[in-house]
Every structure is written in structure tokens, then in C-alpha cells.
Amino acid sequence: MKKYLRNLFNALACFLIVIILNFALPRLLPGDPVAYLTGFAEEEMTGAQVEHYRSALHLDESLPRQFARYLRSLLDGTLGYSYKKEAPVSSLIRGRIGYTLQITLPAVVLSAMIGLFWGLHCGYRKDSPGDRFSNALLIVLNTVPSFLIALVLIIALCFRRRIFPYTGVSSAGMAPGVPGFLADRLLHLALPVFTLTLAAAPSRYLLMRNTAARIADEKYVLYAKQRGLSPKRIQFSYMLKNIAQPFITMLGMSVSLCIGGSLVIENIFSIGGMGKLLTDAVYTLDYPLMQGILFVTTLIMVISIIATDLLCIAIDPKVRLGESHA
């Protein structure tokens, strides 16, 4: 399909542009990265040390050569070496991305599901008391900042009632293989996932509900109602397919929530995830680390964009058939 190929080509071209941007943007940040290597330990670096780091970071080479090194570091998998944290970037990311994904992936799935099903249900029964109440409730929930949700939950469920833990993703002494590990892990993840879901669900719901509400008056829905089909059947066999596209688009976008959006939650629950790594990198001008994280983020986003765009096109028979007419 021509559109298929065009989309793919488009996405890849954008990927390349963003790779270039990921290289250029950190270098536009104000300040000198070598200075941050000892940061505010207020140690003075000798001139020789400054030079050593400057050449280690390749800052004394021309920009095209630095870019070539950057590309090479991406291709060989190490993603560069962070002098500030004294570790290869890939290992830093690998150590932390697991935690971020463990709290964001379930949250993305849960919030999408809640948004889809609740939104569909209310859109179908629009202007019913249930619909109005849900709308009002979720609009209110949407205005509550995520850190507030997290802190309220922590006070209620961790301090007043000691049900959940509030630091890390496991208890001290737990490791895979120790009995009770899975239960302990789930217990630690429950609150962060719940918070993220609560924070993300309202916007998913509102979008789905409004889309569903609009098509609830279409002729085919009315016809299905008249024929006596059950509401569930109508919702899932008829309406779902028509709101699938905005839903899939929204899912694709919410992947960005995976990496950057969980920063506040990771901070409050003291989960050492990617959010802090990126902000550390930005505020210490750690070019290699910044570039590495940006590359990983971009890669994940591009894959999700390509996938969701293709999915949208693939499931829309009108577009497929429409093309063959034109």
C-alpha cells in the first residue's frame, strides 16, 4: 500500500531529524559540561584534569566529528559513557528503565481500558444521569495534580492504614527466588500504578466519551437499537470499531507518558526510574547520558507511532477501499 510505505518513510525521516536534534539540543544548553563533572563539590580541577575530560568528552573536536562519534555510540549499543556517573549510558538506562516500565505500562493499559469502556458506555447512554455524573466526576479528577493524588493515597493507605509500602519496588532482602517476592513486588507497585491510572484516566475517558457520544446518534446505531440488539452488542460490535481510530492514536501518544510522565510519581514513591535520570542529566549537562536517554525515548516513540498509524490504516476499511476507488 502506498500510504503504508509513505507513512513508514515519513516516520523514519522524522526519526533521523530527531536524532540530529537530540545531538544538537544538549549542546545548546547554557554552560560548560566539564564544569559539572565535579559540580558543586567545589573541588577545583587542575588544568590538566579539565583537559583530560574535555578530550574524553570529545568537546575539542569539530562538530561533525562529534556527531560521527555520537552515531557510532548509538550503533554499538553502549550509547556513550557518562563521566559524571562513571558508567556506560546503556547500563545506567538498563538499570532504571525496568522500574519505570513496571509502573507505567500497567498504568497505560489500565487507564486506556477504563477510558475506553467507561467512555463507550457513557457515550452510548449520553445525557443519562450516570453519564453526567461520570463526566463531572472525571472533569474534577482531571484537575487534581498527580502529586496530590499520590500524597493523599500515601497518607491514607501507607500511614493512616498501613497497607502499602511507599519506597522502592521491593522490600529489603527480597529478590527473585525468595518466596513472597512476587506478592511483595505487586504490593509495592500497586499504589504508583493506581496513582498514575487515576491521573491519566480522565483524559482518556473524556476523549472516548465525546467521540462515542457523537456517533451514538448515527443512523446505524439507531437502526441497531430498533432491531433490538443488546446495548453491549451495539457498543462493541458497532460503535467500538468506529471510535477505534482516535483511541489507537491516543494510545500511541500515551507511550510518551511511559518515560517522562512518571517523574513525579517516581519521586514521591522513591522509585529509581528514568525520570530522575533524565533531569539529572539535563542539570549536570551530561551530554552522553542525555543523548542516550533521548535516543531510547525517541526509538520507543517512533516504534509506537509507526505501529499505531499502521494499525489505524489497517483497520479502517473505508480508507482501504476508498483508496482503490481513487
Partner: protein
């Protein structure tokens, strides 16, 4: 599709309920499973095999475990990682000396003596051993200096960069004693305050590090302190240390667990509810706003210590911009309302600073006048600078330019944001106009310090917070922040002859009396020329569970210090 979703939800619900059931017996959160143990009365154990202990101790009444909450950002937990080094200075890597809250130095890893402040002799305390039993010797001190030199420091040899700039070696020479337990280090120039640098000098084990290009993780956690590193778990965010049985004075705590927090609110809630026993952050006390909340309960005991840091400083750019004119600096200093800073930003123990800028517990402190508000005098200084008040009540110069300046500060530091606001309100009411320039940390650094701005400081006036270490660095009294020639800081951009002369005198002092005299001159200089103003002084407040007593506080490391673990007891 719906069935699959239902099934998934069902599985999740089952998993949660299973987890909840599994944990039902516990009342404390799962992260600190042994906290309940510490609340029990001390166990009685049969006599431990402690051959070195002189006094008869048939019963082990030591504390089982202390949990310390910290917001330190620890990545790898190996020696050499800055944040971890600060933490392990209280457990596995005792520095050479320590300083108590009255400012006196005492031996920790080594005894010290000097006759002329130029040659310092350090003798390793008897009985200090590395984790593998090898005794600590002065050779380790020498090795540490040489090791740092190989990584570019200028301890024993000078370093030259490609442009020919030379960093002089700090030490002119050394002499190891015959029994290898002492080393006499001769400084390139005498320094009466050299011991201050030694409170953070940690020693590397020569027999482990020598000749190796890579080290195992275990080797990089080697220590010679009262505790031995046990584990670091990133999943749970904990670093665990167990008591070393070979340390000359055994600690009174069997196990130390550091719980890493990313968020202060969560940490203080944990402290108030007893999940953790203590909070610690290097060179930082509990913020004033939290102190009131913690003090209101009974669970937490607050310990306040006279601080030598400057939590909020208004620094002027003395070389460029409006404040190159001394009259304007005096005018602003007299127009601020210092009570506001103390009340709204400082803690309950905050105080109004003196014109001499340095806090009372600083070495070489000299009493100078307290800062005060005097609008009439301020207006006179404005006139002397060539400004008169127009009908709108604003100051304008002779060619109609209003009195305005930009105040740079870090927008992620709440106390700086508050101070900036108070300054703007005061000066705007006085007749000037302040433009607030709140920046993220990178942009802020690029405007306010030599090192990060590549020697191009562009701020007109900026807010700073100076740590104790920074205040004491170089020749002390915060001069690294004032001296425009300092390679790293130099925010105030002062290049005055007079300043440089006094600075040199401070550096050349051979006795404490000489130093104090020069320091007094420097404080007079500060009072007379106002290159910078302290906005409020505050003590450092530490928090620990109320069930402990006999606490030893260290001037550099607060409650997280080796001696504290030796003296601390449970009530």
C-alpha cells in the same frame, strides 16, 4: 475482546488480594521489617567473643538496628562516588580527623600535630584495620595522595595543562616514619586551618588498589571503619552496613540501614511515624518549614547546632552593572527588612546577620554591627549615587533612568524564591524596581560563577546559598565567593587591592592569632564595602527519633558520623 479484559482484571484482582492476604499479619510497611524489633527492649545475649574489649561486658545491650532516611542521590554505592563518600564517612571510611560543634578538632583515623602550621604529622590510631585484617598505615595516606595525583590532582606534584598553566603542588614534601605509622606532610605554604581539609580526607587501601587498573565492586567498598558494607539494593533503595568486630571501639549499633528517598515529604512523614529513626543529608539541616511540624509531635527530637553556612546571601556584582557603585550597595542593604527574612524564610532559630557577613561560630569571627533597616540613611546613599525621587516615588538618575536591577536566583529553591519576593517588595516600596530573574539551575550557574560561566559572570545581583564547606574553603570567610579571581566561584567579582591584601594576609598566617587578626580585617572590609549581604543566619537542625540519647554531633557530617554510632544509646 471483552472476555479477555475481564479475565485480565480478574487476574489482577486475584493478585492484589493474594498480596494483601500475604501481608495481613504485619502492621508496619514491608520496607522496614525489623523496625518492630528495635522497639523491643534490648536483647540479652550470651557474652560475645570480643577479646579487645577491656571493660567486662557480659550482656550485649547494643541497638539492633537504626534506619536512616536520606535524600542523597546514590547511584553505585562505591568509594569515589561523591554522595556515597559523604555517607560512608560515617560508616566505612572514617576521615583523618573530625570536628565537634564547638569547632575543636579531634583525631579520628589519625592523630595529628604541628609546630608551625606548615608541617603536619599524622599518626594512624592504634588498632585501625582494613576489612581483611590488614592494619591501616601511613603508607595508605601517602598512596592516596599519589593515587589522586595520577588522576590529575596536584598533591605531591604539580600539574601542567597544554596551555602551560601550572597548578602548584599542595605539598612540598613528605617523610614516612620508620614504623610506617606516621607521615609528616609539609605544605607548600603554611595553613593554620589545614585540619579543616582533613575532615574529609578518606584513605584508600594501598594493598588493594596498588597496581590494579580495574577493581571489583567489593574492593571498591573496602573500608576501615566501625562498620562493614553489606549490601546495596536498588529495588528497595537501601544500603546496609553491619558492625565491624575489629574496630578498636565497637559501635553500639549492630546494623545500619540507609533508606534512600527521592521526596522529602515522604521522608519526614516516615520519620514522624517512626518507620525511620533519623534523617540525614550532607551539610543540610531540616528546612525551617518542616521543623515546626516535626517539633509539635513527641516522636522526633530536634538538635540544633550553630552553623557556619550562609543559607541566603544577596551577592552584588561589584565589577559590572549598577552595583559597581558602592553607594547603591549600601542603599539596598539599608532598605531591606531583615525581620521578614528571619520570620518567613528562616526556621524558628533564625537570626539577623551582622554586617561582617560570617556567622558567629566561624573561625576568626569578629563582632560587627547587626544589619538594620534605615530608610533615611538609604535615601542619602541614593542621593550620593546621583538618584533623586520623582513624583511617583521612584528613584531616577539625573538623565531620567530609573533605579532598577535584575535579581537572579534559582527557581527550584523555595527559600531563594521567597527571599527574592521579599526583596522585590521591599525595594519596590523603597523606590527602586527589581526585575526577578528566576532560572533553572544550569542557567543560574552559567550566570553566577566563574567556572560555569567560563569567566563571564553576567548577573547584577544574585541570591546564593553557601555551604559550610564553601564558606571555609580557600582562606575561609566565604572569600571564594567574593574574590573575582577565584577559578570556580567569584560571584561577587571583587578585585580590590585592599581585599586582595587582606586575603593574602589570611593565607600567609602561621598562627591562629595571625589568622584571626586578618579575618577580623576581612569582616571589617565586608562591613565597610558591602560586597554581599547575609539575609538571615540559621542553625542547622537535625532530627532523630526521641528514643535515642547520648548523641554526638559532627560539624561536617551532622548525625551521620562514626563517633555517634559509638556513643548512641537507647532510652
Amino acid at each position: 475482546m471483552k472476555k479477555k479484559v475481564l479475565a485480565m482484571l480478574l487476574v489482577l484482582i486475584l493478585a492484589f488480594s493474594f498480596a494483601a492476604c500475604a501481608k495481613k499479619g504485619q502492621t508496619a510497611p514491608a520496607t522496614t521489617p525489623e523496625t518492630t524489633d528495635a522497639a523491643k527492649p534490648a536483647e540479652t545475649k550470651p557474652a560475645d567473643a570480643q577479646p579487645a574489649v577491656p571493660a567486662p561486658e557480659p550482656v550485649d545491650t547494643s541497638i539492633d538496628q537504626i534506619v536512616i532516611g536520606t535524600t542523597a542521590a546514590i547511584e553505585t554505592a562505591i568509594n569515589g562516588e561523591y554522595a556515597y563518600d559523604m555517607l560512608s564517612s560515617g560508616t566505612t571510611q572514617p576521615p583523618l580527623v573530625w570536628q565537634d560543634v564547638d569547632g575543636n578538632y579531634h583525631p579520628l583515623l589519625a592523630e595529628f600535630e604541628t609546630a608551625d602550621a606548615k608541617t603536619w604529622t599524622y599518626t594512624i590510631v592504634e588498632g585501625m584495620k582494613w576489612d581483611d585484617g590488614t592494619p591501616v598505615t601511613a603508607e595508605d595516606i601517602l598512596f592516596t595522595l599519589e593515587y589522586e595525583d595520577e588522576n590529575g590532582s596536584a598533591n605531591l606534584k604539580e600539574q601542567t595543562d597544554s596551555e602551560g598553566k601550572v597548578t602548584q603542588a599542595k605539598y612540598a614534601g613528605y617523610e614516612l616514619s620508620a614504623d610506617k605509622r606516621s607521615i609528616a606532610l609539609t605544605l607548600a605554604s603554611p595553613n593554620v586551618r589545614e585540619l579543616g581539609n582533613m575532615t574529609s580526607f578518606r584513605v584508600l587501601p594501598k594493598h588493594i588498589y596498588e597496581g590494579k587498573s580495574t577493581l571489583t565492586e567489593a574492593e571498591q567498598r573496602f573500608g576501615c571503619g566501625p562498620f562493614v558494607f553489606e549490601s546495596f539494593s536498588r529495588d528497595s533503595g537501601t544500603i546496609t552496613f553491619v558492625r565491624s568486630e575489629t574496630y578498636p571501639q565497637p559501635a553500639n549499633v549492630k546494623k545500619l540501614v540507609y533508606q534512600l528517598f527521592d521526596n522529602e515529604d515522604t521522608m519526614y512523614m516516615a520519620l514522624s511515624s517512626g518507620d525511620i529513626d533519623m534523617v540525614w543529608a550532607y551539610s543540610t539541616g531540616i528546612a525551617g518549614t518542616y521543623q515546626e511540624v516535626l517539633a509539635s509531635g513527641d516522636a522526633v527530637r530536634l538538635i540544633s547546632v550553630n552553623a557556619t553556612n550562609a543559607p541566603a546571601v544577596l551577592a552584588f556584582n561589584n565589577a559590572a552593572g549598577p552595583f559597581a557603585d558602592e553607594n547603591l550597595r549600601h542603599a539596598v542593604a539599608l532598605a531591606l527588612n531583615y525581620d521578614d527574612f528571619r520570620t518567613y524564610v528562616g526556621s524558628p532559630t533564625a537570626d539577623i546577620p551582622n554586617a561582617g557577613f560570617v556567622p558567629t561560630s566561624t573561625v576568626g569571627y569578629k563582632q560587627t554591627e547587626k544589619l538594620k533597616t534605615d530608610i533615611a540613611a538609604a535615601e542619602k546613599y541614593m542621593e550620593a549615587a546621583g538618584y533623586t525621587k520623582n513624583e511617583a516615588g521612584k528613584f531616577v538618575s539625573s538623565d531620567g533612568a530609573p533605579f532598577t536591577f535584575t535579581l537572579t536566583f534559582r527557581s527550584d529553591r523555595p527559600n531563594q524564591v521567597s527571599c527574592a519576593e521579599l526583596i522585590k517588595t521591599a525595594i519596590d516600596a523603597f523606590g527602586g524596581e527589581v526585575i526577578l530573574d528566576g532560572l533553572d539551575s544550569a542557567s543560574y550557574n552559567a550566570k553566577t560563577s566563574n567556572k560555569f560561566s567560563e569567566n563571564n559572570i553576567t548577573m547584577e545581583a544574585a541570591l546564593f546559598g553557601y555551604t559550610s564547606a564553601g564558606m571555609g574553603m580557600g582562606n575561609g570567610l566565604g572569600t571564594i565567593y567574593v574574590d573575582g579571581r577565584h577559578a570556580v566561584q567569584g560571584g561577587c567579582q571583587v578585585y580590590d587591592e585592599q581585599f586582595q591584601t587582606i586575603l593574602a594576609a589570611m593565607g600567609a598566617a602561621k598562627t591562629p592569632e595571625e589568622y584571626n587578626a586578618a579575618a577580623g580585617d576581612m569582616q571589617d572590609f565586608y562591613a565597610e564595602h558591602t560586597p554581599l549581604i547575609g539575609l538571615y543566619w540559621d542553625s542547622l537542625t537535625y532530627g532523630i527519633s526521641a528514643r535515642f540519647e547520648n548523641i554526638t554531633v559532627d560539624n561536617a557530617f551532622g548525625l551521620n558520623n562514626v563517633n555517634n554510632w559509638i556513643t548512641i544509646t537507647e532510652k
